[in-house]
């Protein structure tokens, strides 16, 4: 499985048996600068999957492009062997907490209800059943006492729980979460982990961007090691090895970053048009 490429980089790729998500030769650029190169892998159904890598490795970019929030320079992503647009109802997303303005004039319950909007459709108003569903989700994350609270009054951990409850309210089969454990207190961390574990025991797939190596080993079933390219993917016991981690964290591949910068500077499209 371990092979050496021309850059002497080590990599390891284990294919999933029952595929939830397939990344096919995915390349993504920001403002012409490629930040992810040729990601090609399959992720298994019903597992808790961690995407691990150093700062700037493209972890968030990977799940954002899976959710169709970023234009792809090349490749595609398929979920349950279908295109995202055909199964959107089954896919849920938790963005990074810092991406929204928490002083926005709305309540905890209202935020969780947003998770019901896609099922409701345009023009339809929130029904009683949606409210009950949202309440049940708030209960799952231990926030049922905060229903009416204005969101600016929440602590970081509580904000994260609300975002998780909103995703749960979508009642999806596949969850993409961007740093749900970042900056949360210990109680929130274990509460979130419990919810994620429960989801996977129900056969749902949870894909989580995670920055903390230490806890990663305890949290996840399956690991994606990322550093602008795919370093390794597979079950934790096979992938979480010293030399693979060193490969992912041992600094960026300098040639790769330099080429990215050059492409940006000279505004060369990262894929040729003809």
């Amino acid at each position: 499985m371990v092979r050496r490429s021309t850059q002497n980089a080590i990599s390891m790729k284990i294919e999933a048996k029952e595929v939830a998500v397939e990344f096919h030769d995915l390349t993504v650029s920001y403002d012409k600068k490629p930040v992810l190169w040729n990601i090609d892998m399959t992720l298994p159904k019903g597992k808790l999957i961690g995407i691990i890598g150093p700062n700037g490795a493209g972890k968030s970019t990977l799940i954002k492009s899976a959710m169709g929030l970023l234009p792809l320079s090349s490749g595609y992503v398929r979920m349950f062997d279908q295109a995202l647009n055909d199964i959107r109802q089954q896919v849920s997303y938790v963005p990074q907490r810092e991406t929204v303005d928490w002083d926005f004039p709305t309540s905890v319950l209202d935020v969780v209800l947003m998770g019901r909007y896609s099922k409701l459709g345009l023009f339809k108003r929130v029904r009683k059943a949606d409210k009950e569903m949202a309440m049940a989700c708030l209960k799952k994350v231990g926030m049922e006492a905060f229903t009416k609270r204005q969101i600016s009054q929440l602590s970081g951990g509580q904000q994260q729980r609300v975002f998780l409850a909103r995703a749960l309210a979508q009642d999806a089969d596949l969850y993409f979460m961007d740093e749900p454990f970042a900056g949360v207190d210990a109680a929130t961390e274990s509460a979130i982990l419990d919810v994620l574990r429960e989801l996977t025991t129900q056969g749902k797939t949870v894909i989580v961007v995670h920055h903390d190596l230490q806890s990663a080993a305890a949290f996840f079933d399956w690991i994606v090691l990322l550093n602008m390219r795919l370093v390794a993917v597979g079950p934790i016991e096979e992938v979480f090895t010293n030399h693979l981690l060193q490969e992912a964290y041992g600094g960026k591949l300098t040639v790769l970053s330099e080429v990215s910068e050059l492409i940006k500077k000279r505004r060369i499209p990262s894929r040729e048009r003809y």
Partner: protein, 428 residues
Amino acid sequence: METLRTFFSFSDPNIVAVVVGAMLLTASSAVVGTFTLLKKKALVGDAVAHAVLPGICLAFLLSGNKHPLLLIVGAFVTGWISLVLIDYITAKSKIKEDTAIALILSVSFGVGILLLTYIQKTGNAAQTGLESFLFGKAAALVGQDLWVFGVVAVLLILMVSLFFKELKLIAFDENYAAALGLPVRALNLLLTSLTVLAVVTGIQAVGVVLMAAMLITPAAAARFWTNDVLKMTIIAALMGAFSGLAGAFVSYTAPTMPTGPWIVMIISIIALISFFFAPSRGIISKSIEQQRLQFLIMEENLLKELYHLGEIDEDPFKRRTIDELIAKRFFPRLPLKSALGRLRRQGYISRKEDGFQLTKEGRTKGKRVVKLHRLWELYLSRYMKIAPDHVHEDAETIEHVITPALEAELERLMDYPELDPHDSKIPY
């Protein structure tokens, strides 16, 4: 006074028309403006407001008449072009958004004034009244104009209420909206079109120059009174409508007076009042809250010092004079006296002719502050490895912050320690 009575008796159908019209226009721009504000696009609204002027002039020049629908179309087109240009400049050049907005705003307003002056110089008889687009004229809102602009205003309010939950979501978390599969592009397009239309209708009342105020100020003022988007929208609409009413009155009583500045003045006063007096978010309520906190800290410090003195003399209920207290720790005399008064009224101390004395409740409360102080000192030196002579200042602040839950956690964590880093006994 007499005019006031005539005006508000609404006996003249013209007055009713003008009032209803002005209120509709200002309310509808306030409703749309709420989302412009929440999306943090306030300045863009200002640019659009200035960019509609050349559109109005061009529409007039090309057609030769002032039919409101024509003017709306002209204004809509240039308003939209200005938005597209701002986005294009920001995306494709090194110019940042604020600069792009400033550029588009001033250039398009310059072109607008140029065209307006040219039209006025041609001596075309039909052009009279075009200049009211500069500063607004509610009283000019009669007949056909009233109908067209009134319908547009109602349409704006209708569209916002139809798409309310979607607009709210793209204002709060656009990425999530896209992940849900909502048509985010189309919704943004809708909001932009609504903004442009709100500007186009609103300038009838307040004019190009001050339109941004009409779009943004009611929403900004309403934000002080509520934490809910729906309530905020309604309050903004009511505030806008009220200023519209005032504007119509001015326009009626003083026909030579431009309406816009008056409307904007009224809404600004409402905003100022909100800024100062709104409960919880207003400046005054915030400073009262701050003052209350200062009082609380002062009171806790006094109880702490009284407890401490009792510890030293091994007589917790000994009477103390004000000078004794000041000698223990400097307090300015006047605040000290008023704090002692407050503590007496709360039953924490009692006053005797030769000084003050802790009550039982006061002693318990003072003891808790001392305990928290010492617990925190110990925590800092034990867990954060801070030298014992550096922990006091921190503990002075933290002793007022720690909640009963944290207190229990600290006790548990350090297993009910007996001594602090300075070997003082931690009282339980």
